[in-house]
Subunit: 304 residues, 2 copies
């Protein structure tokens, strides 16, 4: 319940059939991260009663409009509502001048600090880190430069089993070694395996976001073993050629990525407007990777 993603928009290209362009809100403990920001994202945040002021980092995948046209509106709204805390936007280098230009013509001098961090598409890169979480960008394969994002919990320190350590003489450094998962020699020189003196903690969890991209096994290394993978499935299998031409993926290809990356669960999204009923897309994906779900706006998916 402390690591979850709310889908704000799951359609590709344009709004249709009540579906909106791409945006999602990731929560990790008390922090909120916005991933992509299609037109109308601020209205979707309102609609689903999210707390937009708690967002301090925004991650933009690429500069097709359905992934960022809502950003300037959100930035401006923060200003009108007198935001104080800094906001950092991660995304392609060309994003900053677009935003700055629009602020300039409006004669708007923001009342809060707006920082941009440029992403690159040559390799995986650690771009954000806090006490509990690391965020990496990694290259995707689209018509214009595009990155996926990996949200990875830091490994928690192991818990000391007080029952087992109470009769031992352990200095603070030995406790620290135990918490880091190391075996130790105690102050009397006696060996203790880590497992004998510590308790398991929940495994570190990972969420990977892959849109927009054509099918490419070279992405697998970035998303291996994630607990939850969001992967685009713009088209059904019978449009595989069209997917290739437009640098998008099919339902089957999304399933294949999930299967080959050994992920626990897959959400497919970024649906073409030509599909009104999405059940057939789910079925196709599930034939390759059973634990698949459709992205649905307003729904929260746990990362567990």
């Amino acid at each position: 319940l402390d690591f979850e993603v709310l889908i704000l928009g799951c359609n590709s290209a344009l709004a249709a059939h009540g579906r909106h362009p791409t945006a999602q809100l990731l929560r990790h403990h008390n922090k909120l991260f916005l991933i992509d920001c299609g037109e109308g994202t601020q209205m979707q945040l309102q609609k689903f009663k999210a707390k937009p002021f708690k967002i301090e980092q925004i991650f933009i995948s690429h500069l097709h409009g359905d992934h960022y046209f809502g950003l300037i509106g959100l930035i401006t709204t923060y200003h009108l509502l007198q935001r104080k805390t800094p906001l950092t936007v991660f995304g392609p280098k060309a994003l900053e001048p677009i935003i700055r230009l629009q602020l300039e013509v409006a004669n708007t001098s923001l009342c809060y600090e707006l920082r941009f961090v440029a992403t690159q598409t040559s390799s995986k890169e650690l771009i954000y880190e806090d006490e509990l979480l690391k965020v990496y960008s990694f290259p995707l394969y689209h018509r214009i430069p595009c990155t996926g994002y990996l949200f990875e919990e830091k490994k928690q320190l192991r818990k000391i089993n007080k029952e087992k350590t109470k009769d031992l003489t352990l200095n603070p450094e030995l406790y620290a070694q135990l918490r880091r998962g190391e075996d130790i020699l105690d102050e009397d020189g006696v060996f203790h395996s880590n497992e004998s003196l510590t308790l398991d903690v929940p495994a570190a969890r990972k969420y990977a976001y892959c849109t927009d991209t054509m099918y490419s096994p070279s992405i697998l290394e970035y998303i291996e073993h994630v607990n939850l993978l969001y992967h685009e499935a713009t088209f059904m299998n019978d449009a595989q050629e069209r997917a290739q031409q437009t640098f998008h993926s099919t339902t089957g290809q999304a399933g294949l990525m999930a299967s080959n990356a050994h992920v626990q669960k897959l959400i497919i999204g970024h649906f073409s407007s030509k599909y009104i009923d999405l059940k057939p897309l789910l079925n196709e994906s599930q034939q390759v990777f059973q634990n698949t779900e459709l992205a649905e706006e307003g729904r929260i998916y746990l990362i567990e």
Copy 2:
């Protein structure tokens, strides 16, 4: 029924209380004109089942985001849906580079022709004309350059009263003079007043759009005697000082403009998000100008 305006967004600054940023769709006979284009306008067009492909001219008042952040999305959607007909956008000069830059970073080469016509704020100017209608821009008084728009029907030619002309000898030039409203000498040299040989036609109608602007009587000359005036009323009367500071108008000032310009009817809009219930705004405006209505999204107002 052949000259009407559909309100798509009536809120100022940001979306709130179910109200959207500014946009409206003007219909004159079979032509549709979009006036301003706040974020989410394309969704509002969908919601109210308008026909966005019939829009060939878009008029942007100024470059505060609540009046144009939806434009790039609409332009892109037209491309994705393979629009063929040219689109002309009227607005401040700085608008074109913003749009071109965003198309460029998306590597989008539009499949239709997109033209920009720059507005200026020094004087009234005829910027568009078709067989039935003329559109003028005129200066408003806001924090950044801003124009209002006047949509004025061309004077219709008078109708020949066939009953009265059937026994006269009139060549085509004489008929043309009659249609233009002139008195004539017939081919026998006999004088005929225009009224004696022609029938009245409906008077030319006018719609004026005034937002955003502070109260300024210098605007009156541009909007005199219009059938319908849309005028911003961002604040109530008790916030007159705040209105002045932010270059906006109050409900009373909007009413005063309508009264002094001798318009037939006033719609107030561009409401501050601080007002949830709009009835008090209507009351204040009606105390100055009785025939006032609130802008309501999804509602069509006739220009008659």
